[in-house]
């Protein structure tokens, strides 16, 4: 037995051990190392240079040569072989046979059968041996079971999926579907998202016997596509199956018509990519298909292409080794060209020449030899692109090679038109294709090993981990398995269902056992969040400052006392002698001034009385004005009633009926009711300016201005006196300011409520005097009646009025003091409580 040194820890292990006893590192060569072994460094093709050609063709002088280079057998990597599969197979229904015919006609069926494995639909990616078994025997693949394909992770969404992934996705789902079909399927899906439906799949359907092959394309959906994302390295696996050699025998030779119809998708791609803006705008379009539009190739050329030998394989797929743009891009990505260069198995190149001649530098020679025998010879091609290579390219693929229909053979157009360098960044920033990431993680033999952390899988192997396994890291139980059916993750099982989780009860969701390692601070945050969520569902009573509760007892007490005392006084008050209020000199008093003015009035002189009070104030206003109006009637004056209140006319009639019934004034003979004057102050002003125009008719519809009370009145100044009865200080003010300022010789007097007196008093005492006299409330009315010597309503209500005042004062005083003391106590108590807190 021979000890094997662990590449990680350097300790010796027996050669029959697969893993290091000390660090559990895989002792066998990993994918990168084996690939490196397969392909000696000196023979490793410059994969990045080919990428340069692919991605920055503007620096490539001859596209045809690059195509040839791409198909150079010794340099054709696995990626390039995939490119072959991507770009060629639509020409031939049977991909394997077509590829064999195209690339290596002389190749034995073994190689062809390996390519046929690509088309094995029954091959599940989960059953596929490790990718490194591509070039080894199946026995060897068991040695590398540590990296099964079923552990691949779905790192790439449908939007991010590079064409290779799409290709393999379709590959798994379609029987007898050519790689081009596989390629076209996801692309069509992407195109469907950007193209009208009428331009999509229907054109994809080939005619005749290609129908069966293309039908799955039509049925292809996102689920199928996404389900294959996890198997992005499936093309490796498929290359292992040698049992399908016979199945991959070329059986059908496609007719030109069929080929043409099958390549309609490429035509649409070309049309879509006529302009760079379209390519940029269409984010769903595969980046690698970003090409300039080219005229569709003739089917006849394609048929010729199918017969093109391997030596004539177009070299446009080959990348230039000195493509500086890609190098610059990789430099930005902190990668070297070698890092991104996928390991090109040496077998590819060697087998292309001859199986016996090649001597792979892999650890297990036997296995390698087996692989060498199986490796297709189509990869063998000329190193240098020939000018004829352009002609060898199928016409429908020439646009990919940058060949313009109207261009000269030597004049090429960039097949992979990249608009700007930033596009590279966007392209590869977070969405690095798996094959590229694989290349970046394990290209060269020894240096790569140092770059891979012990115990860590290479990135490209990680990319191969199956979807199901990847979600196990979430810790979700098996019963939580969920297959996404919408969006970019459609078809992928065990993804976190965002919508469903959002609809879940947060508390229930929080109880899911997650195998997460949470620190103490995280737990605190979780608890805090749980507490916040829990409190959200609880009803929280906002504590307002307690409003001042109404004192219903005090309210009822006040009401009862006032009602009882005043009612009793009204009933029994007549028997109680009441002294009259004392006052100053009558001549200077307001009621005295009014009294003497009325005394000077003569019979049939017109007097305007405004009933401008509310029905609610009837009690006070009738009492206050009864003596004054009675005095006017005693003088024999003609009375005209007007009101700026809607209820005024009725109040006037009611007043005459209830208080002046003894005078028996008759309507339209001794008094006239002009009714309601709308417009408040504006209406009053208008009435003052032109009374006949504003109120042409009386309250009853009769001709007011033809009646005796108004027969001699043409304007407001023709009235001998204006008397306003109001309980509203504003109304009193309006009359004074709007009318009193206009009146010249006509005195303006008022009977007002007691509450109005403070406001009208200045008009009476000012000079010039806008208000000639007034009676305020019950008190002035009492004095006025006494002056007249005719007790009236005021004298009747004087005692109840005084009793009511006494009760009110007593109640206010007692209640106020009590409330004041209570307020002080409550404040003191509140301060004490506040001090304790």
């Amino acid at each position: 037995m021979k000890d094997i040194l662990c590449p990680t820890c350097g300790r010796p292990n027996s050669d029959n051990q697969e893993f290091c006893n000390y660090c559990y590192t895989q002792l066998g060569p990993d994918e990168s190392s084996r690939l490196d072994d397969l392909l000696p460094p000196e023979e490793t093709p410059d994969e990045s240079s080919r990428l340069d050609d692919l991605l920055q063709p503007e620096e490539t002088p001859d596209e045809a040569s690059r195509l040839d280079d791409l198909l150079q057998p010794e340099e054709t990597p696995d990626e390039i072989s995939r490119l072959d599969d991507l770009l060629k197979p639509e020409e031939i229904p049977d991909e394997s046979s077509r590829l064999d015919d195209l690339l290596q006609p002389e190749e034995t069926p073994d190689e062809a059968s390996r390519l046929d494995d690509l088309l094995q639909p029954e091959e599940s990616p989960f059953e596929t041996p490790p990718t490194d078994g591509i070039f080894t025997s199946e026995e060897e693949t068991t040695d590398h079971s540590t990296m099964p394909d079923d552990q691949a992770q779905p790192e790439i969404s449908s939007d991010e999926t590079p064409p290779e992934d799409d290709y393999f996705t379709a590959e798994e789902t379609l029987d007898e579907t050519s790689p081009l079909d596989d390629l076209s399927a996801p692309e069509d899906t992407q195109l469907d998202s950007t193209l009208p439906d009428d331009q999509a799949l229907p054109d994809e359907t080939p005619e005749a016997d290609l129908t069966q092959q293309t039908e799955p394309l039509d049925e292809f959906d996102l689920d199928q596509m996404s389900s294959g994302f996890g198997e992005d390295a499936g093309w490796f696996d498929m290359l292992q199956d040698s049992d399908s050699t016979e199945e991959s025998e070329p059986e059908v030779v496609p007719t030109p018509t069929e080929k043409k119809s099958e390549t309609d998708w490429l035509e649409r791609i070309k049309r879509l990519n006529k302009s760079g803006e379209e390519v940029e705008d269409d984010s769903s379009f595969p980046d690698w298909l970003s090409v300039t539009g080219k005229k569709e190739q003739e089917p006849t050329e394609e048929s010729e292409e199918t017969e093109t030998p391997a030596e004539e394989v177009p070299g446009w797929l080959q990348m230039d080794e000195d493509d500086t743009a890609v190098r610059e891009f990789l430099r930005k990505k902190d990668l070297t060209v070698d890092e991104i260069t996928p390991e090109i198995p040496e077998e590819i190149t060697v087998v292309a020449e001859t199986k016996e001649e090649k001597e792979p530098s892999i650890p297990d020679k036997e296995k390698v030899e087996t692989e060498h025998k199986k490796f297709p010879s189509w990869a063998s091609a000329e190193d240098k692109p020939s000018p004829e290579g352009i002609q060898d390219i199928p016409e429908e693929l020439q646009f990919l090679a940058g060949i313009s229909p109207d261009s000269t053979p030597g004049k090429t157009v960039d097949p992979f038109q990249i608009e700007e360098e930033d596009f590279f960044d966007d392209l590869f920033d977070d969405e690095l294709p798996s094959w590229l990431s694989t290349a970046s993680s394990g290209d060269e033999s020894l240096p790569i090993e140092h770059e891979i952390t012990p115990g860590e899988l290479p990135g490209w192997v990680e990319a191969m981990r199956p979807v199901v396994e990847s979600t196990d890291t979430t810790g979700l139980p098996d019963d939580e398995d969920y297959i996404e059916n919408y969006g970019p993750l459609a078809g992928i099982p065990s993804v976190l269902p965002a919508e469903a989780e959002l609809a879940l009860d947060p508390e229930k969701a929080a109880r899911k056992p997650l195998d997460l390692t949470a620190s103490k601070s995280h737990q605190e945050y979780v608890n805090l969040l749980r507490k916040l969520i829990g409190e959200e569902s609880k009803l929280k009573v906002i504590k307002k400052p307690p409003p001042l509760a109404t004192q219903r007892v005090l309210r009822w007490l006040i009401a009862i006392i006032l009602l009882v005392t005043i009612t009793g006084t009204v009933i029994f008050g007549d028997s109680i002698p009441t002294p009259t209020p004392t006052d100053g000199p009558i001549q200077t008093s307001s009621y005295g001034a009014l009294y003497y003015q009325i005394e000077r009035l003569k019979s049939e002189q017109p007097v305007l009385i405004a009933f401008d009070y509310q029905p609610a104030a009837t009690g006070e206003m009738h009492t206050a004005s009864a003596a004054v109006v009675d005095h006017l009637m005693e003088q024999g004056t003609y009375l005209s009633f007007v009101s700026t209140q809607p209820t005024g006319p009725v109040l006037a009639e009611h007043f005459l009926t209830t208080t002046q019934g003894e005078n028996a004034y008759k309507h339209n003979q001794q008094y006239i009711n002009l009714g309601y004057l709308p417009g408040e102050s504006a209406g009053l002003l208008s009435f003052v300016i032109a009374p006949k125009k504003i109120i042409p008719l009386a309250f009853d519809g009769s001709n007011a201005w033809g009646s005796p009370p108004l027969i001699n009145v043409n304007n407001i100044g023709d009235f001998e006196m204006i008397l306003v009865i109001t309980d509203d200080p504003n109304t009193a003010k309006i009359w004074i300011e709007q009318v009193g300022t206009i009146l010249e010789d006509t005195p303006l007097n008022m009977v007002v409520s007691a509450q109005v007196e403070p406001l009208i008093q200045p008009y009476f005492r000012s000079s010039p005097q806008l208000l000639s006299g007034y009676v305020s409330g019950v008190i002035d009315s009492m004095k006025y009646e006494n002056l007249m010597g005719q007790p009236n309503l005021a004298n009747k209500t004087w005692l109840p009025f005084n009793i009511g005042i006494i009760i009110s004062v007593g109640t206010i005083f007692i209640g106020g003091l009590a409330n004041g003391v209570m307020s002080l106590f409550s404040r003191h108590r509140a301060r004490q409580i506040g001090a304790r807190l």
Partner: protein
Amino acid sequence: MNIKLKAPISTAIAIGVGIVVLAGYFIPSITNIRFILLRTGLVLAAVALLVGIINLLTVHIKKMGSEGENSGYSLILIITLLVTLAVGIIDMLQTYLAGQPNFQMTNWVFTYIQLPIETSMLAVTAVSLTYAAANILRKRMDLFSITFFFVILLVLLGSFSVPPANIPFLHVVHDWIIRVPALGGARGLLLGIALGTITTGIRILMGTDRPYGG
């Protein structure tokens, strides 16, 4: 489109009419124009009263249709409104037909329904005011409220003429309060209100305040 047209037009009308009426107070030569506008305003105010009544009716019809707790009151309001309107129309017809004023039914409704109700409400207002005056120290125990409280008492006692509260000194205090501090305070308030009224009117004239929906 309507809004764009409506706003400038209504604003221009409001500003124009306001300026003319205001200038009519100071410039006698445009009194006639001002008078025409005022008369138009009076008609519109009367129509607005009718519109308001219709609005009142429609609102309570809607309330009556709903299942609110106050829908019964709305029904009573609608019935009384229609009855009063019918009574007024009948009285008007009788007056025109007889050639003599005949508002007996209207007076009856006013005298025996509206007047007692409103008078009673004012009487209850006296109770509420008494309660409010007694309660003011509970609401706000500050210098102004205490002053307010005692001024109420003094003014009420000053208007009292029944023994034994018929004290001449209280009458003098009452008169002094009415004529000096109350009048001064009222004047000050009125001046402030007048200034506020002027600014409000100017804002309307400037079009910055547009309560008319412009």
